[in-house]
């Protein structure tokens, strides 16, 4: 139960003001070594020496500390403003749907509710649940108390997402998820005839994304493997069940019911359903852009054996992709458009990623590391292209003419991303 969010930190933090003077907390015990290195590094980082990687680790630690030491009232005001805007949109949007018999009210209400739901899940929910705002010590904006407008309960998601996905980012066989059995997203995954359905499954997954995540968070695979007990599954199922009932009642019973006196019951139902679907498709797209576009790496377990803090950072950089765009775009993606920065520093306040990105890009350049980014349409296209490509067996690489006998030799895996279908961010 370590704070994975703090994983690579070893810098002392200051605590308390006892007797006027701040007492220095000794450095957090590094879970990862500061020096040394794995037997071999991912190819994109193979040119770096142990000393390079160590220096890079220190630079990124310093960057993190700099942001932490300047967190303050402005950041607190930011998240409160976003929450205020989101709640206003939610109330006004839902209220407008009560009159959705009129087409303009239907369109406006659905649009506002969609935006509210997107903000709620992405810029607010995802980031609060990461503990990005815990430092404010506001019990109303805290990772231990937050519940979101998403069918999967916050507690279940925090475990699979914060503990598993963020720790084992793109490590084959470790960063497990529902996509593994249903979607084929990596060349290294063996092809089965069933994978021909890849695009169809993904197409259905997109508008029902929250349900995909809810199922993923139940960790059915872990139950099958005996890593998770049946009792735990029962408990989780109950929690999801309760959440589903509440979410369903709100959007598909109470809202339409309230709209009925205005003759707008049916339209309101369509409105809430559409808003959920729009939010789901949007979240699905953003998540796919985070780890599946071209240029994103996956890793083997040998590659992380002996991983240092610097290597951990490098893995986060190589295994993530950003989305470029306007400020509004960044907010609507919950700043997961700064996926690289988010993966290196999952618990920094999201509004600060933009400034981290400037330095991160410079650091990548200096160390000769790729920094994958692109506009949303391009990244979405590449992710979908992968879904289609991997529906078919890997195309064998052209073989030298005189090597015909080697046709059946195992195809060396091409690097590509793992399916992180069900891990928002």
């Amino acid at each position: 139960m370590t704070a994975t969010t703090n994983r690579p930190t070893t810098t002392p933090t200051r605590v308390g003001t006892v007797d006027g003077a701040a007492t220095t907390i000794r450095p957090k015990k590094p879970i990862l070594a500061a020096t040394g290195g794995p037997a071999h590094r991912p190819s994109a980082a193979a040119h770096l020496t142990d000393a390079d990687v160590e220096r890079l680790g220190r630079e990124l630690d310093a960057l993190r500390d700099r942001i932490i030491s300047t967190r303050g009232a402005k950041d607190a005001a930011y998240i409160r403003r976003v929450i205020r805007i989101q709640r206003t949109l939610e109330v006004v949007g839902r209220a407008t749907l009560l009159l959705s018999k009129k087409k303009s009210a239907f369109v406006a209400g659905t649009a506002m509710l969609s935006v509210a739901k997107i903000l709620e899940n992405m810029e607010i929910g995802h980031n609060v649940l990461h503990g990005q705002w815990d430092w404010m010590r506001d019990p109303d904006i805290h990772s231990t108390t937050w519940e979101w407008d998403f069918v999967t309960p916050a507690a279940a998601w925090k475990h699979t997402h914060n503990d598993l996905h963020h720790t084992w980012t793109n490590v084959l066989g470790k960063d497990k998820d529902v996509g593994y059995s249903t979607l084929r997203m990596a060349e290294d995954q063996p092809w089965r005839p069933f994978n021909i359905l890849n695009p169809a499954i993904n197409l259905i997954l997109a508008p029902f994304f929250e349900w995909g995540i809810a199922i993923y968070d139940l960790e059915l695979e872990a139950v099958k493997d005996g890593e998770k007990s049946k009792d735990d599954l029962k408990r989780d199922l109950k929690a999801v069940g309760r959440k589903v009932v509440r979410q369903f009642t709100k959007d598909y019973a109470a809202t339409p019911l309230a709209a009925m006196p205005f003759g707008s019951g049916k339209q309101a139902l369509i409105g809430t359903f559409t808003a959920n679907a729009i939010r789901n498709v949007w979240a699905h797209s953003v998540i796919f852009c985070g780890h599946f576009p071209d240029g994103v790496d996956t890793f083997t377990e040998e590659e992380i054996e002996g991983e240092t803090r610097g290597d951990w950072y490098i893995r986060q950089m190589l295994g993530s992709a950003n989305i470029s765009g306007s400020k509004l775009m960044h907010i609507m993606t919950g700043n997961l458009s700064h996926q690289i920065e988010h993966h290196c520093f999952p618990d920094l306040p999201s509004n600060r990623y933009a400034e981290v990105a400037v330095e991160m890009r410079e650091i990548c350049q200096r160390y000769g590391l790729p920094y994958t980014t692109g506009p949303m349409p391009k990244q979405v296209y590449q992710a979908w292209a992968k879904v289609f490509r991997l529906a078919l067996p890997n195309r064998p690489r052209p073989l030298p003419k005189n090597a015909a006998h080697a046709v059946n030799a195992p195809v060396p895996p091409r690097r590509s991303a793992l399916p992180m279908v069900a891990s928002v961010g």
């Binding site: 007492t23 303050g72 709640r87 979410q247």
Partner: protein, 359 residues
């Protein structure tokens, strides 16, 4: 009331996973039932270092008894900070606290609070309160220790013709003395109150001496007949306690103990801090390596854990947190203790080796 609750239930179907209050909070910040808040209605500069902050509390506040204190939360640099302050207003009036700037939070409160600001609150508590039955009283205060006593005086003196209160208040100078003019006016107006100020500067730097009875005998000859209340700095209270014990006046006068004291700061043993260790906050999924002299409460708050707390000095037990594993050191006594499941007062206990807390 029942209707409101029913309405709330219905509304929450539409607001889940938020509460209706979360949305009402958009218009009225005081409405939250989960977090008690107060809006500042008046700010009065009392002395160069002290400020009285009047506030209108939201739903969930209980009227205080004269002498009680409340936890006040304020945001400084975006971070919620909590400290305890005695309520200085008379019972029945809108509550107020009088804050003397001596450190981080008090300075921010005393200097930066403006009308309209929102403070976070906890309900009043404490048993430094007036005796149930009327009796002659002696109030012995120094510095900001006057605040709880001021609430007692404001509550008692104007309302009870039979009140008989002597206040001995020590301050550095006339200008530093809290509520100076108001006290003299009250004493003028009501025969039940006698005020004796002791200004250390004017006494040639001589502090009110409680190591012997001489000063007391001069200022209040019948002090032995009075139920006494004392509030002030640690050494002041220590001297008073010792004096009352020595003079045998520490028996009960009627149903009230002869001397009741209120401390603003914990009495920590010097140099009890030991090794410290890695503290894990299980539910919050946070861990931090701390020194052996840092209260677990501060350690938790510093890494963003929402820790329960109250007085922050080992008296109210609001901070009790279950220990999962490890040993802790009581900073008041130096004692190392810790059984699994034991409830730890985090404000006065530090890590003695690795500690796991259930929060």
């Amino acid at each position: 009331m029942v209707q409101i609750r029913a309405l709330r239930r219905v509304a929450s179907i539409l607001t889940t996973p938020r509460t209706p209050e979360d949305f009402l909070g958009l218009v009225n910040p005081l409405v939250s039932s989960r977090q008690l808040r107060g809006v500042v209605t008046k700010v009065v500069r009392e002395t160069p270092d002290s400020t009285t902050i009047h506030f209108r509390p939201g739903r969930g506040w209980n009227q205080h008894a004269a002498g009680q204190w409340a936890r006040i939360g304020v945001e400084i640099d975006g971070v919620r900070q909590w400290r305890s302050y005695s309520l200085s207003a008379a019972v029945g009036h809108d509550p107020a606290v009088t804050v003397t700037a001596i450190g981080f939070v008090s300075t921010a409160l005393a200097r930066d609070t403006k009308v309209g600001d929102v403070l976070f609150l906890d309900t009043p508590q404490g048993d430094f309160v007036l005796p149930e039955h009327p009796r002659p009283l002696l109030m012995l205060t120094a510095g900001s220790g006057l605040t709880p006593v001021m609430s007692m005086i404001r509550t008692l003196v104007p309302r009870r013709p039979d009140a008989d209160v002597v206040l001995i208040h020590s301050a550095r100078t006339r200008g530093d003395a809290l509520f100076h003019d108001e006290l003299l006016e009250l004493a003028d107006q009501f025969p039940g109150l006698q005020v004796r100020h002791w200004f250390t500067r004017e006494e040639g730097g001589r502090r009110l001496d409680l190591s012997g009875v001489a000063d007391l005998e001069t200022l209040c000859p019948d002090w032995r007949e009075r139920a006494a209340y004392a509030c002030g700095p640690t050494d002041f209270l220590d001297a008073a306690t010792e004096l009352w014990q020595r003079e045998g006046a520490d028996g009960a006068v009627g149903d009230a103990p002869a001397l009741t004291i209120e401390r603003f700061a914990p009495v920590l043993l010097d140099g009890v801090g030991g090794e410290g260790g890695l503290v894990t906050f299980e539910k919050s999924d946070k861990e931090v390596e701390v020194g052996g002299d840092v209260p677990l409460l501060d350690a938790g708050e510093d890494c963003g854990v929402v820790m329960p707390s109250g007085c922050r000095m080992g008296i109210c037990r609001s901070c009790l947190t279950p220990l999962v594993a490890g040993k802790v050191r009581d900073l008041r006594t130096g004692e190392v203790h810790g059984d699994e499941g034991e409830l730890i007062q985090t404000c006065v206990n530090a890590a003695a080796g690795p500690v796991h807390l259930d929060i």
